[in-house]
Amino acid sequence: MPMNVPFSAARIRDEFPVFRHHPDLIYLDNAATTQKPLAVLDAERRFYETANANIHRAAHRLGSAATDAFEGARTRIAAHLNAAHPDEVLFTRGTTEAINLAAHSWGRAHLRPGDVILLSTLEHHANIVPWQLVAQATGAIVKPIPLDADGTIDQRAFLSLLTPAIRLVGLTQCSNATGVLPPLAPMIAAAKAVGALVMIDGAQGIAHGGVDLQALGADFYAFSGHKLYGPTGVGVLWARRELLAKMPPWQAGGEMIDRVSFDGTTFAEPPFRFEAGTPPIAQAVGLAAAMDWLAGHDRDTLLRHELALRERFEAGLVQLDCIRVLSASAPRGPITALAFDGLHPYDVAQFLDGYGVAVRVGQHCAGPLHQALGLNGSLRASFAAYNTEADVDATLAALATTLEQLA
Protein backbone atom coordinates (compact mmCIF):
# COMPACT_ATOMS: atom_id res chain seq x y z
CA MET A 1 0.00 0.00 0.00
CA PRO A 2 1.44 3.42 -0.87
CA MET A 3 2.41 5.47 2.14
CA ASN A 4 0.30 8.45 1.12
CA VAL A 5 -2.99 6.55 1.48
CA PRO A 6 -4.51 7.36 4.87
CA PHE A 7 -4.55 4.50 7.36
CA SER A 8 -7.71 2.41 7.46
CA ALA A 9 -8.00 -0.64 9.69
CA ALA A 10 -11.09 -1.72 7.73
CA ARG A 11 -9.06 -1.77 4.51
CA ILE A 12 -6.30 -3.79 6.18
CA ARG A 13 -8.95 -6.20 7.48
CA ASP A 14 -10.10 -6.72 3.88
CA GLU A 15 -6.66 -8.15 3.10
CA PHE A 16 -7.26 -11.04 5.55
CA PRO A 17 -9.41 -13.78 3.98
CA VAL A 18 -10.26 -15.35 7.36
CA PHE A 19 -12.66 -12.47 7.96
CA ARG A 20 -14.56 -13.32 4.78
CA HIS A 21 -15.23 -16.75 6.29
CA HIS A 22 -15.94 -15.33 9.76
CA PRO A 23 -17.32 -11.85 9.06
CA ASP A 24 -18.53 -11.31 12.63
CA LEU A 25 -15.40 -12.61 14.34
CA ILE A 26 -13.79 -10.23 16.81
CA TYR A 27 -10.32 -11.66 17.02
CA LEU A 28 -8.40 -10.37 20.03
CA ASP A 29 -6.08 -13.36 20.45
CA ASN A 30 -3.34 -11.91 18.29
CA ALA A 31 -0.62 -12.46 20.87
CA ALA A 32 -1.26 -16.20 20.44
CA THR A 33 -1.20 -16.04 16.66
CA THR A 34 -2.16 -13.45 14.08
CA GLN A 35 -4.30 -13.98 11.02
CA LYS A 36 -2.55 -14.04 7.62
CA PRO A 37 -2.91 -11.49 4.83
CA LEU A 38 -3.52 -12.61 1.27
CA ALA A 39 0.03 -11.50 0.38
CA VAL A 40 1.45 -14.20 2.67
CA LEU A 41 -0.97 -16.91 1.53
CA ASP A 42 -0.20 -16.03 -2.10
CA ALA A 43 3.56 -16.12 -1.53
CA GLU A 44 3.47 -19.63 -0.07
CA ARG A 45 1.13 -20.88 -2.77
CA ARG A 46 3.22 -19.24 -5.49
CA PHE A 47 6.34 -20.92 -4.14
CA TYR A 48 4.70 -24.35 -4.19
CA GLU A 49 3.28 -23.74 -7.66
CA THR A 50 6.36 -22.27 -9.30
CA ALA A 51 9.51 -23.16 -7.40
CA ASN A 52 8.97 -26.17 -5.16
CA ALA A 53 12.02 -28.39 -4.79
CA ASN A 54 14.47 -29.15 -2.04
CA ILE A 55 17.13 -26.52 -1.56
CA HIS A 56 20.92 -26.20 -1.71
CA ARG A 57 21.65 -29.62 -3.19
CA ALA A 58 19.47 -30.07 -6.25
CA ALA A 59 21.28 -30.20 -9.59
CA HIS A 60 18.29 -28.92 -11.50
CA ARG A 61 16.57 -25.68 -12.33
CA LEU A 62 13.65 -26.02 -9.94
CA GLY A 63 16.10 -26.69 -7.12
CA SER A 64 17.93 -23.49 -7.99
CA ALA A 65 14.64 -21.58 -8.01
CA ALA A 66 13.75 -22.99 -4.58
CA THR A 67 17.20 -22.16 -3.19
CA ASP A 68 16.94 -18.65 -4.59
CA ALA A 69 13.51 -18.22 -3.00
CA PHE A 70 14.71 -19.50 0.38
CA GLU A 71 17.97 -17.57 0.46
CA GLY A 72 16.18 -14.53 -0.95
CA ALA A 73 13.78 -14.78 1.99
CA ARG A 74 16.75 -14.88 4.38
CA THR A 75 18.24 -11.77 2.76
CA ARG A 76 14.97 -9.83 2.90
CA ILE A 77 14.30 -10.84 6.50
CA ALA A 78 17.84 -9.76 7.45
CA ALA A 79 17.19 -6.39 5.81
CA HIS A 80 13.87 -5.95 7.64
CA LEU A 81 15.65 -6.69 10.93
CA ASN A 82 18.60 -4.46 10.02
CA ALA A 83 20.93 -7.38 10.65
CA ALA A 84 24.48 -6.80 9.47
CA HIS A 85 24.48 -9.91 7.27
CA PRO A 86 21.95 -12.49 6.03
CA ASP A 87 24.13 -15.27 7.50
CA GLU A 88 23.12 -14.03 10.93
CA VAL A 89 19.52 -15.13 10.32
CA LEU A 90 18.95 -18.78 11.26
CA PHE A 91 15.64 -20.34 10.34
CA THR A 92 13.97 -22.34 13.12
CA ARG A 93 10.48 -23.67 13.78
CA GLY A 94 9.68 -20.64 15.89
CA THR A 95 10.74 -18.66 18.94
CA THR A 96 10.80 -21.72 21.17
CA GLU A 97 13.18 -23.63 18.92
CA ALA A 98 15.26 -20.47 18.41
CA ILE A 99 15.83 -20.08 22.15
CA ASN A 100 16.48 -23.80 22.52
CA LEU A 101 19.07 -23.54 19.77
CA ALA A 102 20.87 -20.71 21.55
CA ALA A 103 20.62 -22.41 24.94
CA HIS A 104 21.79 -25.83 23.81
CA SER A 105 24.45 -24.74 21.32
CA TRP A 106 25.96 -21.69 23.00
CA GLY A 107 25.01 -22.70 26.54
CA ARG A 108 26.40 -26.21 26.54
CA ALA A 109 29.62 -25.06 24.88
CA HIS A 110 30.29 -22.02 27.01
CA LEU A 111 28.56 -22.33 30.41
CA ARG A 112 30.57 -23.63 33.37
CA PRO A 113 29.53 -24.60 36.92
CA GLY A 114 28.67 -21.48 38.89
CA ASP A 115 27.96 -19.34 35.83
CA VAL A 116 24.70 -17.45 36.19
CA ILE A 117 21.83 -17.02 33.74
CA LEU A 118 19.65 -14.08 34.73
CA LEU A 119 16.05 -14.17 33.50
CA SER A 120 13.32 -11.63 34.08
CA THR A 121 10.20 -12.82 35.88
CA LEU A 122 8.19 -11.54 32.90
CA GLU A 123 9.54 -14.28 30.64
CA HIS A 124 7.45 -16.76 28.71
CA HIS A 125 8.29 -20.36 29.64
CA ALA A 126 10.11 -20.61 26.29
CA ASN A 127 12.76 -18.21 27.62
CA ILE A 128 13.00 -19.99 30.99
CA VAL A 129 12.83 -23.74 30.60
CA PRO A 130 15.54 -24.16 27.90
CA TRP A 131 17.95 -22.31 30.20
CA GLN A 132 16.93 -24.47 33.16
CA LEU A 133 17.73 -27.60 31.13
CA VAL A 134 21.11 -26.21 30.06
CA ALA A 135 21.82 -25.16 33.64
CA GLN A 136 21.15 -28.72 34.80
CA ALA A 137 23.53 -30.04 32.18
CA THR A 138 26.36 -27.56 32.82
CA GLY A 139 26.13 -26.69 36.52
CA ALA A 140 25.17 -23.12 35.70
CA ILE A 141 22.57 -21.38 37.86
CA VAL A 142 19.33 -19.72 36.71
CA LYS A 143 18.33 -16.68 38.76
CA PRO A 144 15.14 -14.61 38.34
CA ILE A 145 15.08 -10.83 38.21
CA PRO A 146 12.17 -9.88 40.47
CA LEU A 147 9.30 -7.58 39.58
CA ASP A 148 8.13 -4.33 41.10
CA ALA A 149 4.64 -4.10 42.56
CA ASP A 150 3.28 -2.94 39.19
CA GLY A 151 4.57 -6.01 37.37
CA THR A 152 7.56 -4.33 35.72
CA ILE A 153 11.15 -5.48 36.11
CA ASP A 154 12.69 -4.22 39.36
CA GLN A 155 15.58 -2.20 37.92
CA ARG A 156 17.36 -1.74 41.23
CA ALA A 157 17.29 -5.47 41.86
CA PHE A 158 18.50 -6.10 38.31
CA LEU A 159 21.52 -3.85 38.74
CA SER A 160 22.35 -5.40 42.09
CA LEU A 161 22.22 -8.89 40.55
CA LEU A 162 24.69 -7.99 37.80
CA THR A 163 28.08 -9.48 38.59
CA PRO A 164 30.86 -10.92 36.42
CA ALA A 165 29.36 -14.38 37.09
CA ILE A 166 26.41 -13.42 34.88
CA ARG A 167 26.97 -15.02 31.49
CA LEU A 168 23.59 -14.37 29.92
CA VAL A 169 20.59 -12.13 30.58
CA GLY A 170 17.24 -13.20 29.09
CA LEU A 171 14.63 -10.50 28.52
CA THR A 172 11.39 -10.20 26.66
CA GLN A 173 10.91 -7.26 24.32
CA CYS A 174 7.21 -7.23 25.27
CA SER A 175 5.53 -9.45 27.87
CA ASN A 176 3.18 -11.88 26.14
CA ALA A 177 0.94 -11.91 29.21
CA THR A 178 0.66 -8.26 30.25
CA GLY A 179 2.23 -6.36 27.34
CA VAL A 180 4.82 -4.76 29.66
CA LEU A 181 7.76 -3.30 27.71
CA PRO A 182 11.02 -3.55 29.68
CA PRO A 183 13.49 -0.67 29.19
CA LEU A 184 15.72 -2.77 26.94
CA ALA A 185 18.35 -0.20 25.99
CA PRO A 186 19.66 0.53 29.49
CA MET A 187 19.23 -3.10 30.58
CA ILE A 188 21.21 -4.40 27.61
CA ALA A 189 23.92 -1.79 28.20
CA ALA A 190 24.17 -2.75 31.88
CA ALA A 191 24.35 -6.46 31.04
CA LYS A 192 27.06 -5.87 28.42
CA ALA A 193 29.03 -3.83 30.96
CA VAL A 194 29.55 -6.96 33.09
CA GLY A 195 30.38 -9.04 30.03
CA ALA A 196 27.08 -10.93 29.79
CA LEU A 197 25.37 -11.88 26.56
CA VAL A 198 21.74 -10.83 26.12
CA MET A 199 18.92 -12.96 24.68
CA ILE A 200 15.86 -10.98 23.63
CA ASP A 201 12.58 -12.84 23.15
CA GLY A 202 11.04 -10.80 20.35
CA ALA A 203 7.98 -13.01 19.78
CA GLN A 204 5.56 -10.23 20.75
CA GLY A 205 7.70 -7.14 20.31
CA ILE A 206 8.52 -7.66 16.65
CA ALA A 207 4.84 -7.58 15.70
CA HIS A 208 4.38 -4.14 17.23
CA GLY A 209 6.91 -1.68 15.90
CA GLY A 210 9.52 -4.19 14.76
CA VAL A 211 13.19 -4.22 15.68
CA ASP A 212 16.50 -2.71 14.56
CA LEU A 213 19.00 -5.35 15.56
CA GLN A 214 22.13 -3.28 15.04
CA ALA A 215 20.67 -0.50 17.20
CA LEU A 216 19.37 -2.93 19.84
CA GLY A 217 22.81 -4.21 20.81
CA ALA A 218 21.65 -7.64 22.00
CA ASP A 219 23.47 -10.90 21.20
CA PHE A 220 20.53 -13.19 20.45
CA TYR A 221 17.09 -12.25 19.13
CA ALA A 222 14.33 -14.82 18.65
CA PHE A 223 10.91 -14.53 17.03
CA SER A 224 8.16 -16.52 15.31
CA GLY A 225 6.57 -16.00 11.93
CA HIS A 226 3.03 -16.80 12.99
CA LYS A 227 2.70 -13.92 15.45
CA LEU A 228 3.92 -11.55 12.73
CA TYR A 229 1.18 -12.21 10.14
CA GLY A 230 3.38 -15.00 8.74
CA PRO A 231 3.10 -18.79 8.61
CA THR A 232 3.32 -21.23 11.51
CA GLY A 233 6.33 -23.53 11.61
CA VAL A 234 8.96 -20.91 10.92
CA GLY A 235 10.88 -18.54 13.14
CA VAL A 236 14.28 -16.94 13.40
CA LEU A 237 17.23 -16.92 15.72
CA TRP A 238 19.51 -13.99 15.04
CA ALA A 239 23.05 -13.73 16.39
CA ARG A 240 26.15 -11.91 15.15
CA ARG A 241 28.47 -13.86 12.88
CA GLU A 242 31.36 -13.83 15.38
CA LEU A 243 29.14 -15.41 18.03
CA LEU A 244 27.65 -18.02 15.68
CA ALA A 245 31.17 -18.99 14.57
CA LYS A 246 31.92 -20.03 18.18
CA MET A 247 28.78 -22.14 18.51
CA PRO A 248 28.76 -25.90 17.85
CA PRO A 249 25.96 -27.67 15.97
CA TRP A 250 22.86 -28.44 17.97
CA GLN A 251 20.74 -30.73 15.80
CA ALA A 252 22.49 -32.93 13.27
CA GLY A 253 21.63 -34.39 9.91
CA GLY A 254 21.75 -33.32 6.31
CA GLU A 255 22.33 -29.74 5.17
CA MET A 256 24.47 -28.87 8.22
CA ILE A 257 27.59 -30.84 7.37
CA ASP A 258 30.72 -30.02 5.44
CA ARG A 259 32.05 -33.54 4.98
CA VAL A 260 30.84 -36.75 6.62
CA SER A 261 32.86 -39.86 7.17
CA PHE A 262 32.87 -42.49 9.90
CA ASP A 263 36.33 -41.21 10.88
CA GLY A 264 34.89 -37.82 11.64
CA THR A 265 32.50 -35.23 10.33
CA THR A 266 33.15 -31.56 9.76
CA PHE A 267 30.37 -29.04 9.85
CA ALA A 268 29.18 -26.34 7.54
CA GLU A 269 29.59 -22.67 8.32
CA PRO A 270 26.69 -20.70 9.84
CA PRO A 271 23.85 -20.40 9.07
CA PHE A 272 23.74 -23.90 7.55
CA ARG A 273 25.51 -25.48 10.54
CA PHE A 274 22.34 -24.76 12.53
CA GLU A 275 19.77 -25.79 9.93
CA ALA A 276 19.87 -29.58 9.93
CA GLY A 277 17.48 -31.31 7.58
CA THR A 278 15.06 -29.73 5.17
CA PRO A 279 14.08 -26.34 6.62
CA PRO A 280 10.60 -24.79 6.44
CA ILE A 281 11.18 -23.52 2.91
CA ALA A 282 7.76 -22.27 1.85
CA GLN A 283 7.20 -20.95 5.37
CA ALA A 284 10.42 -18.92 5.20
CA VAL A 285 9.20 -17.49 1.90
CA GLY A 286 5.88 -16.72 3.60
CA LEU A 287 7.61 -15.06 6.55
CA ALA A 288 9.62 -12.81 4.21
CA ALA A 289 6.34 -11.94 2.46
CA ALA A 290 4.78 -11.05 5.83
CA MET A 291 7.68 -8.75 6.65
CA ASP A 292 7.52 -7.23 3.15
CA TRP A 293 3.79 -6.71 3.68
CA LEU A 294 4.42 -4.97 7.01
CA ALA A 295 7.14 -2.83 5.47
CA GLY A 296 4.57 -1.67 2.93
CA HIS A 297 2.77 0.03 5.82
CA ASP A 298 4.04 2.71 8.12
CA ARG A 299 4.95 0.68 11.21
CA ASP A 300 4.58 3.67 13.53
CA THR A 301 1.04 4.25 12.23
CA LEU A 302 0.14 0.58 12.78
CA LEU A 303 1.52 0.64 16.31
CA ARG A 304 -0.26 3.90 17.13
CA HIS A 305 -3.50 2.36 15.87
CA GLU A 306 -3.04 -0.77 17.99
CA LEU A 307 -2.19 1.26 21.09
CA ALA A 308 -5.19 3.54 20.49
CA LEU A 309 -7.42 0.43 20.42
CA ARG A 310 -5.91 -0.74 23.70
CA GLU A 311 -6.51 2.68 25.25
CA ARG A 312 -10.09 2.82 23.95
CA PHE A 313 -10.69 -0.63 25.42
CA GLU A 314 -9.20 0.21 28.80
CA ALA A 315 -11.06 3.54 28.96
CA GLY A 316 -14.31 1.64 28.35
CA LEU A 317 -13.49 -0.86 31.10
CA VAL A 318 -13.71 1.93 33.66
CA GLN A 319 -17.52 1.78 33.23
CA LEU A 320 -17.50 -1.86 34.35
CA ASP A 321 -17.09 -3.05 37.93
CA CYS A 322 -14.75 -5.68 39.26
CA ILE A 323 -12.19 -5.50 36.44
CA ARG A 324 -8.54 -4.63 36.95
CA VAL A 325 -5.98 -4.03 34.18
CA LEU A 326 -2.65 -5.61 35.08
CA SER A 327 0.39 -3.29 35.02
CA ALA A 328 -2.05 -0.56 33.99
CA SER A 329 0.36 2.33 34.42
CA ALA A 330 3.44 0.60 32.98
CA PRO A 331 4.71 1.14 29.43
CA ARG A 332 2.96 -1.61 27.48
CA GLY A 333 2.43 -2.84 23.96
CA PRO A 334 -1.08 -3.38 22.54
CA ILE A 335 -1.94 -6.10 25.05
CA THR A 336 -4.44 -5.79 27.93
CA ALA A 337 -4.46 -8.37 30.70
CA LEU A 338 -7.47 -8.38 33.00
CA ALA A 339 -8.15 -9.78 36.44
CA PHE A 340 -11.70 -9.96 37.81
CA ASP A 341 -12.83 -9.70 41.40
CA GLY A 342 -14.89 -12.78 42.22
CA LEU A 343 -15.00 -14.07 38.65
CA HIS A 344 -12.86 -16.66 36.91
CA PRO A 345 -11.38 -15.46 33.60
CA TYR A 346 -12.36 -18.79 32.01
CA ASP A 347 -16.04 -18.11 32.72
CA VAL A 348 -15.79 -14.62 31.25
CA ALA A 349 -14.08 -15.98 28.13
CA GLN A 350 -16.75 -18.66 27.67
CA PHE A 351 -19.46 -16.00 27.51
CA LEU A 352 -17.32 -13.73 25.30
CA ASP A 353 -16.76 -16.62 22.90
CA GLY A 354 -20.51 -16.97 22.60
CA TYR A 355 -20.67 -13.31 21.58
CA GLY A 356 -18.01 -13.92 18.92
CA VAL A 357 -15.09 -12.40 20.83
CA ALA A 358 -11.90 -14.48 20.85
CA VAL A 359 -9.61 -13.84 23.82
CA ARG A 360 -7.15 -15.93 25.79
CA VAL A 361 -7.36 -16.98 29.43
CA GLY A 362 -4.95 -18.75 31.73
CA GLN A 363 -1.38 -18.05 32.65
CA HIS A 364 -0.27 -17.58 29.04
CA CYS A 365 2.83 -19.74 29.60
CA ALA A 366 4.05 -17.15 32.08
CA GLY A 367 3.71 -19.02 35.40
CA PRO A 368 6.37 -17.09 37.34
CA LEU A 369 4.78 -13.76 36.31
CA HIS A 370 1.34 -14.85 37.51
CA GLN A 371 2.83 -16.20 40.75
CA ALA A 372 4.52 -12.83 41.31
CA LEU A 373 1.21 -11.04 40.68
CA GLY A 374 -0.63 -13.44 43.01
CA LEU A 375 -3.01 -14.58 40.27
CA ASN A 376 -4.11 -18.01 39.06
CA GLY A 377 -4.69 -16.59 35.62
CA SER A 378 -5.82 -13.60 33.63
CA LEU A 379 -7.81 -12.77 30.54
CA ARG A 380 -5.81 -11.30 27.69
CA ALA A 381 -7.02 -9.15 24.82
CA SER A 382 -4.30 -8.45 22.26
CA PHE A 383 -4.69 -6.13 19.31
CA ALA A 384 -3.42 -6.26 15.72
CA ALA A 385 -3.47 -3.94 12.73
CA TYR A 386 -6.78 -5.33 11.40
CA ASN A 387 -8.70 -4.75 14.62
CA THR A 388 -11.10 -1.84 14.55
CA GLU A 389 -12.77 0.54 16.97
CA ALA A 390 -15.98 -1.39 16.28
CA ASP A 391 -14.20 -4.55 17.55
CA VAL A 392 -13.33 -2.75 20.78
CA ASP A 393 -16.83 -1.34 21.28
CA ALA A 394 -18.47 -4.70 20.61
CA THR A 395 -16.07 -6.37 23.06
CA LEU A 396 -16.93 -3.82 25.75
CA ALA A 397 -20.64 -4.42 25.18
CA ALA A 398 -20.09 -8.19 25.30
CA LEU A 399 -18.12 -7.83 28.53
CA ALA A 400 -20.89 -5.76 30.12
CA THR A 401 -23.47 -8.41 29.20
CA THR A 402 -21.15 -11.17 30.43
CA LEU A 403 -20.77 -9.51 33.82
CA GLU A 404 -24.57 -9.30 34.09
CA GLN A 405 -24.91 -12.98 33.22
CA LEU A 406 -22.34 -13.96 35.83
CA ALA A 407 -23.58 -11.56 38.53
Binding site: P345, Y346, D347, F351, V361, G362, G377, Q405, L406
Partner: protein, 149 residues
Protein backbone atom coordinates in the same frame (compact mmCIF):
# COMPACT_ATOMS: atom_id res chain seq x y z
CA UNK B 1 -32.83 -42.24 47.92
CA UNK B 2 -29.84 -43.12 50.05
CA UNK B 3 -27.75 -40.27 51.37
CA UNK B 4 -24.00 -40.33 51.54
CA UNK B 5 -21.54 -38.80 53.98
CA UNK B 6 -19.79 -35.51 53.14
CA UNK B 7 -18.44 -34.57 50.69
CA UNK B 8 -20.68 -36.95 48.75
CA UNK B 9 -23.96 -35.50 50.12
CA UNK B 10 -24.68 -33.34 47.05
CA UNK B 11 -27.77 -33.75 44.86
CA UNK B 12 -26.09 -34.62 41.54
CA UNK B 13 -26.49 -38.25 40.56
CA UNK B 14 -28.99 -38.90 43.37
CA UNK B 15 -31.85 -36.38 43.63
CA UNK B 16 -30.91 -34.94 40.23
CA UNK B 17 -30.57 -37.60 37.56
CA UNK B 18 -29.43 -37.61 33.94
CA UNK B 19 -32.89 -37.28 32.50
CA UNK B 20 -33.72 -34.28 34.67
CA UNK B 21 -30.52 -32.54 33.63
CA UNK B 22 -30.97 -33.41 29.98
CA UNK B 23 -34.42 -31.81 30.09
CA UNK B 24 -33.03 -28.63 31.62
CA UNK B 25 -30.23 -28.47 29.05
CA UNK B 26 -32.61 -29.08 26.16
CA UNK B 27 -34.83 -26.30 27.46
CA UNK B 28 -31.81 -23.98 27.43
CA UNK B 29 -31.84 -22.98 23.77
CA UNK B 30 -28.56 -21.61 22.50
CA UNK B 31 -25.09 -21.31 23.96
CA UNK B 32 -25.92 -18.32 26.16
CA UNK B 33 -28.74 -20.09 28.00
CA UNK B 34 -26.54 -23.20 28.30
CA UNK B 35 -23.71 -21.14 29.82
CA UNK B 36 -26.22 -19.60 32.23
CA UNK B 37 -27.53 -23.04 33.16
CA UNK B 38 -24.01 -24.31 33.84
CA UNK B 39 -23.47 -21.33 36.16
CA UNK B 40 -26.79 -22.18 37.87
CA UNK B 41 -25.77 -25.85 38.28
CA UNK B 42 -22.51 -24.65 39.86
CA UNK B 43 -24.60 -22.82 42.48
CA UNK B 44 -26.46 -26.05 43.27
CA UNK B 45 -23.24 -27.98 43.87
CA UNK B 46 -21.89 -27.30 47.39
CA UNK B 47 -18.21 -26.35 47.58
CA UNK B 48 -15.65 -28.96 48.55
CA UNK B 49 -14.22 -28.24 52.01
CA UNK B 50 -10.75 -26.68 51.91
CA UNK B 51 -9.36 -29.86 53.47
CA UNK B 52 -10.14 -31.68 50.21
CA UNK B 53 -9.01 -28.93 47.85
CA UNK B 54 -5.49 -30.33 47.94
CA UNK B 55 -2.91 -31.26 45.32
CA UNK B 56 -3.93 -34.89 45.80
CA UNK B 57 -7.37 -34.13 44.40
CA UNK B 58 -6.37 -31.36 42.02
CA UNK B 59 -6.92 -31.79 38.28
CA UNK B 60 -5.12 -28.93 36.63
CA UNK B 61 -6.23 -27.55 33.33
CA UNK B 62 -4.33 -24.78 31.63
CA UNK B 63 -7.12 -22.29 32.21
CA UNK B 64 -8.84 -23.36 35.42
CA UNK B 65 -8.40 -25.69 38.39
CA UNK B 66 -10.70 -28.47 39.48
CA UNK B 67 -10.77 -30.92 42.37
CA UNK B 68 -12.21 -34.40 42.16
CA UNK B 69 -12.75 -36.76 45.09
CA UNK B 70 -13.68 -40.36 44.35
CA UNK B 71 -15.03 -42.82 46.90
CA UNK B 72 -16.96 -46.08 47.09
CA UNK B 73 -19.78 -47.34 49.24
CA UNK B 74 -21.66 -50.64 48.98
CA UNK B 75 -20.56 -51.21 45.41
CA UNK B 76 -21.47 -47.69 44.31
CA UNK B 77 -19.07 -45.11 42.96
CA UNK B 78 -19.12 -41.86 44.90
CA UNK B 79 -17.78 -38.64 43.44
CA UNK B 80 -17.60 -35.03 44.55
CA UNK B 81 -15.98 -32.15 42.74
CA UNK B 82 -15.34 -28.43 42.69
CA UNK B 83 -13.69 -25.84 40.46
CA UNK B 84 -12.57 -22.24 40.70
CA UNK B 85 -14.48 -21.66 37.44
CA UNK B 86 -18.28 -21.66 37.63
CA UNK B 87 -18.73 -23.01 34.12
CA UNK B 88 -16.27 -25.84 34.80
CA UNK B 89 -18.07 -26.47 38.08
CA UNK B 90 -21.34 -26.67 36.17
CA UNK B 91 -19.76 -29.21 33.82
CA UNK B 92 -18.58 -31.14 36.88
CA UNK B 93 -22.19 -31.22 38.08
CA UNK B 94 -22.96 -33.05 34.82
CA UNK B 95 -20.06 -35.43 35.43
CA UNK B 96 -21.29 -36.16 38.96
CA UNK B 97 -24.84 -36.65 37.72
CA UNK B 98 -23.59 -39.27 35.29
CA UNK B 99 -21.49 -41.25 37.76
CA UNK B 100 -22.13 -40.44 41.42
CA UNK B 101 -24.03 -43.07 43.37
CA UNK B 102 -24.08 -45.56 40.50
CA UNK B 103 -22.87 -49.14 40.29
CA UNK B 104 -20.51 -50.34 37.56
CA UNK B 105 -23.38 -52.38 36.16
CA UNK B 106 -25.57 -49.28 35.84
CA UNK B 107 -22.74 -47.48 34.05
CA UNK B 108 -21.90 -50.29 31.62
CA UNK B 109 -22.00 -48.93 28.09
CA UNK B 110 -22.48 -45.33 29.21
CA UNK B 111 -20.35 -42.85 27.26
CA UNK B 112 -20.05 -39.54 29.09
CA UNK B 113 -18.49 -37.67 26.18
CA UNK B 114 -21.19 -38.85 23.78
CA UNK B 115 -23.80 -37.74 26.32
CA UNK B 116 -22.27 -34.25 26.46
CA UNK B 117 -22.28 -34.10 22.66
CA UNK B 118 -25.95 -35.11 22.63
CA UNK B 119 -26.64 -32.26 25.04
CA UNK B 120 -24.99 -29.76 22.68
CA UNK B 121 -21.94 -29.25 24.89
CA UNK B 122 -19.26 -30.62 22.57
CA UNK B 123 -17.35 -27.34 22.60
CA UNK B 124 -16.38 -28.05 26.20
CA UNK B 125 -14.80 -31.32 25.14
CA UNK B 126 -12.70 -29.73 22.41
CA UNK B 127 -11.31 -27.30 24.98
CA UNK B 128 -10.68 -30.11 27.41
CA UNK B 129 -7.02 -29.21 27.67
CA UNK B 130 -8.23 -26.06 29.36
CA UNK B 131 -10.93 -27.40 31.63
CA UNK B 132 -9.72 -30.93 32.36
CA UNK B 133 -13.18 -32.44 31.84
CA UNK B 134 -11.95 -35.32 29.71
CA UNK B 135 -9.20 -36.11 32.20
CA UNK B 136 -11.72 -36.27 35.05
CA UNK B 137 -14.09 -38.45 33.10
CA UNK B 138 -11.16 -40.80 32.43
CA UNK B 139 -10.18 -40.83 36.13
CA UNK B 140 -13.70 -41.85 37.11
CA UNK B 141 -13.78 -44.60 34.48
CA UNK B 142 -10.45 -45.90 35.78
CA UNK B 143 -11.86 -45.94 39.31
CA UNK B 144 -14.87 -47.91 38.04
CA UNK B 145 -12.59 -50.35 36.26
CA UNK B 146 -10.80 -50.99 39.56
CA UNK B 147 -14.12 -51.99 41.13
CA UNK B 148 -14.18 -55.19 39.17
CA UNK B 149 -10.68 -56.25 40.29
Amino acid sequence: MSSYPPPFDHPFGTRIDRDALAQRLEAAAGWEAKNRLLVQLARELPPLPDALRTDEHRVAGCESTAWLVIGRQEGRLLAAADSDSRIVKGLLALLLTAYHGHTPAELAGFDFEAWLVSLGLQRFLTTSRGNGLRAMSRMIREAIAEFSH
